[in-house]
């Protein structure tokens, strides 16, 4: 898989399915944090500002979910990332 333009590929962090109070969640919580594992080349007027390995936070509904070799990733524009942690 190769990422292009101003897109970044993020490996989301798995969230626990049991709350701190011990409740088991019926629906798997959507992750909002992850680590950048690949970045695109950037655009002429928008260079990529993130680097591979950075931990970031994003809106839970941002980007597209992509799957490779049974693993789920988030593909999104770098501007959709809310903050670098």
């Amino acid at each position: 898989m190769k990422i292009h333009f101003n897109y970044v590929l993020i490996e989301p962090e798995e969230l626990p399915e049991v709350t701190s109070g011990g409740l088991i969640l019926t629906e798997k919580p959507k992750p909002n944090k992850g680590t950048i594992i690949q970045v695109g080349e950037g655009l002429p007027d928008e260079p990529i500002v993130y680097e591979v390995g950075q931990r970031v936070l994003f809106p839970i509904n941002a980007g597209t979910e992509v799957e490779e070799e049974g693993k789920k990733y988030k593909l999104m524009r770098q501007k959709e990332i809310l903050m670098e942690l």
Binding site: L57, K79, L82, M83, E84, L85
Partner: protein
């Protein structure tokens, strides 16, 4: 009332925030407060504006800027800021946000301190020292009061809803993104084409278009909860001014 559970816990401040956002350290919540008449408010009540039942007054929407970013405007991009303007806030400024933007902001806390990541175009006013800076094309107006007491012999005053006297005027937005709506034929048509290009100065009495959610445009600055200016002012977008009186 702001529910603590909606705040995610992070261990440290972010290294970088996204374009078009401002990181705001929110006013302290859940602190016991006292009204002017000496009544102690409970932790929940202190977060609400007791003068109003309006839901928009019941969210926290002011705080101190902790981090700023670059602004990004591109009318054809859905991630763009809604209006073209300059970044006018800096670290340490006190800012007020529109209730809806404050309510939708990503929120977290670090060591018990509450933060929100608020979009810049959701900010209305900044205060730097004694300087009041309306942002994003907003005007701050004094209410125009009309006396209507002659018929029933009881003196009372009414605020004229769509008029005000400009008390603080910020810089203009130089452009807006264009929203499109569906026309009756099924195609897309422009539903707005805003401009801020009018001359309005402090002291002008203006009439403005009442728009949806007009209650959002009032800043309850006189309440304890956001008591900074000690006065109630009306918020009005420069683009909604219809005439100078």
């Amino acid at each position: 009332m702001i529910e603590e559970k909606y705040y995610e816990v992070l261990d440290k401040l972010p290294k970088r925030i996204a374009d078009n956002y401002v990181l705001v350290r929110m006013n302290e919540l859940n602190k016991q407060k006292k009204t002017k008449s000496g009544i102690y408010l409970t932790s929940g009540a202190s977060d609400t504006n007791l003068d109003s039942n309006d839901i928009f007054d019941q969210v926290d929407r002011s705080g101190t800027v902790e981090m700023v970013s670059n602004l990004y405007f591109n009318p054809s991009d859905p991630l763009s800021l809604g209006n073209k303007t300059d970044m006018e806030v800096q670290k340490g400024d006190k800012v007020w946000a529109l209730a809806i933007d404050s309510n939708m902001a990503y929120r977290f806390k670090i060591k018990g301190i509450h933060y929100k990541l608020i979009r810049y175009d959701g900010l209305t006013v900044a205060k730097r020292g004694e300087q009041i800076i309306p942002l994003n094309g907003w005007l701050l107006l004094d209410f125009v009061i009309e006396k209507t007491s002659e018929l029933i012999k009881i003196p009372f005053k009414v605020r004229i809803l769509d008029q005000g006297v400009v008390k603080y005027a910020g810089s203009k937005n130089s452009d807006y993104t264009i929203n499109y709506g569906k026309s009756m034929s099924g195609g897309l048509h422009k539903i707005n084409n805003f401009s801020d290009d009018i001359d309005v100065k402090v002291g002008d009495m203006v009439q403005y278009e009442l728009v949806r959610g007009e209650r959002v445009g009032e800043l309850k600055l006189e309440s304890d909860y956001i008591n900074t200016f000690g006065e109630l002012l009306k918020l009005c977008q420069r683009r909604h001014v219809t005439r100078t009186i």
